[in-house]
């Protein structure tokens, strides 16, 4: 028995929302590499079919289930279909999100319908997903739920409200979820990624702050090991936590990491 065995997901079943592209696909494939079968959920069928094919190339079983993350019934159907097909749900990766219908919108111009859909997709979808899988996990006496938050849960930005509020709420939703099911061995944690440019963030250069302590952007595959850690028994003691993966951005941020003052002690004191 090696510590590396604790990081394996052999024969487990993972549901991944937003699995058709970007970070969701990268984490779905990391689960498959660690031994899990993967249920790929998202709205765009062609994309989840492609992810499912990549999972199968890794020798695991895959299922693609078209799912609208803003639809509670869709999540219940997703859980039911997974149970019918695999008979178990070990992992839920609540990854689906929409970044925001429009990015910067002054307060007076906020549109109620846009606010609602962005909240539904980025926040409420996490509740729908958890609510759908928890009964099955509780019956099995084990489970790991991983919610996608963001560094934008921990900092604000001018004229940018909805996404920031939704992601901050994901962090605290995760805490309460974690504290609610310790008796049936269901853990809940979140990942808060920083700058990971992916194809559908067309305005990445203007959105992301490149002045990071680790001076580069993240690559989608770098999310994989962290997601596998949180899904697996290696994180048995980690619960309710949000792990930030952002090149050290939030650890700093008051000054750019390139600012290097030298201020001697007064009078040459040592």
């Amino acid at each position: 028995m090696s510590v590396l065995d604790d990081f394996r997901l052999d024969d487990q079943v993972a549901i991944v929302t937003g699995a058709g592209r970007g970070l969701g696909r990268a984490m779905a494939l990391a689960f498959a590499d660690a031994g899990a079968h993967v249920v790929c959920a998202a709205r765009t069928v062609a994309q989840i079919d492609e992810t499912a094919a990549l999972v199968e190339q890794r020798g695991r079983r895959a299922l693609s289930v078209p799912t609208d993350a803003a639809d509670a019934d869709a999540f219940n159907a997703l859980a039911a279909t997974t149970m019918e097909t695999f008979g178990r749900i070990d992992i839920l990766l609540n990854n689906a999100g929409n970044y925001a219908t429009r990015n910067t919108v002054p307060l007076g111009d906020l549109n109620d319908d846009e606010w609602q859909i962005d909240m539904d997709v980025n926040l409420t979808s996490k509740m729908y997903g958890a609510r759908a899988v928890v009964p099955h996990m509780a019956a099995a006496g084990r489970g790991s739920i991983i919610n996608l938050a963001s560094i934008y849960a921990f900092a604000g930005r001018k004229d940018w409200y909805t996404y920031f509020a939704a992601k901050a709420a994901v962090v605290n939703f995760t805490r309460s979820l974690a504290l609610s099911y310790t008796d049936v061995n269901i853990r809940a944690n979140a990942i808060a990624p920083g700058p990971f440019p992916v194809s559908h963030f067309a305005d990445q250069a203007s959105v992301f702050n490149p002045k990071l302590a680790v001076p580069r952007f993240g690559q989608p595959w770098e999310m994989g090991p962290l997601a596998v850690f949180l899904a697996s028994d290696a994180s048995a003691g980690v619960n309710g936590e949000t792990i930030i993966i952002d090149g050290g951005g939030l650890a700093g941020g008051v000054t750019p990491p390139t600012w290097r003052p030298r201020i001697a002690l007064p009078g040459g004191a040592a």
Binding site: V3, L4, R175, A213, G218, G240
Partner: protein
């Protein structure tokens, strides 16, 4: 520092494997450091080990941990350390470099628990608590960081605990030291990030074999039943998080990550 972006690491086939890496665990003579050294070796790393003193018992425990690294099929290096002597820490790093030519991973697992009402805390107790839990962490980071910067790669993991991030009565000196490590971790992540060195902390819950806590039946009972859900964790759980951070691609940095069974997450 130029505006050039750092190189992007390539995706490893086995993301948690540490084969070919050289690690140094400080505090390896205690159960937590022992568990971490063992886990790093199981993941494939060669492990150098130091205790927190040079007395017979400490040397025996470090030798025992080193033997377990050997049993896992990895190279080990038991180093003697007097943590009050900064030159000793430099000498440790020089010896690791001489033997293995590299130092990729540093884990500071020093943990000297001290609890006393603050008005009864003597200056000598304060000094010892700070020296072992904070100053020795800073000095080992400084010594290892030079070698890591030379090679453009490093993973530093500092173990802290609940009093370092949340208030705990009767632990003012210990809390100041552990909180100091949290701040040191954040600052070093900014200072060394461009040199390929990621610096993180692990916020360990009180753990079962923690000296002063886990060996006190009354405290164990109080922590389990009355105080916090999941407040007592296992050294192995802490070690698994250390392995994850040691193997990470380096984009996680400046963080303090809790392995405390949600104890710090409730109201």
């Amino acid at each position: 520092m130029s505006d050039r972006l750092a190189d992007v690491p390539t995706r490893p086939d086995q993301p948690f494997r540490l084969n070919g890496r050289a690690a140094w665990v400080v505090g390896a003579g205690r159960p937590l450091g022992h568990a971490i050294a063992n886990a790093l070796a199981e993941a494939g790393a060669d492990v150098a080990l130091t205790g927190l003193g040079t007395d017979q018992a400490e040397r025996f425990q470090v030798a025992s941990a080193a033997n377990q690294v050997w049993s896992a099929g990895r190279r080990n290096l038991a180093l003697e350390l007097d943590p009050s002597d900064p030159e000793n820490l430099d000498a440790c790093v020089q010896q690791i470099d001489a033997e293995w030519g590299r130092l990729d991973i540093l884990v500071n697992a020093q943990d000297l628990v001290f609890a006393m009402p603050f008005e009864e805390t003597g200056r000598a107790e304060w000094d010892t608590t700070i020296a072992v839990n904070l100053t020795s962490v800073a000095l080992s980071c400084q010594a290892a960081g030079k070698l890591m910067a030379r090679d453009g790669f490093g993973r530093i993991i500092n173990v802290v605990s609940a009093p370092g991030v949340r208030g705990v009565a009767n632990m003012v000196a210990y809390a100041a030291a552990k909180g100091g490590v949290v701040a040191l971790t954040r600052a070093l992540s900014q200072e060394w990030g461009a040199q390929g060195i990621a610096v993180n902390a692990v916020h360990a819950g009180f753990y079962e074999d923690q000296a002063g806590i886990g060996d006190n039946a009354q405290y164990v009972e109080e922590l389990r039943s009355a105080l916090l859900p999941g407040a007592l964790v296992k050294s192995q759980d802490i070690a698994a998080l250390v392995v994850m951070l040691a193997a990470d691609s380096g984009f996680i940095s400046g963080q303090t990550i809790a392995v405390d069974g949600a104890a710090s997450q409730r109201t």
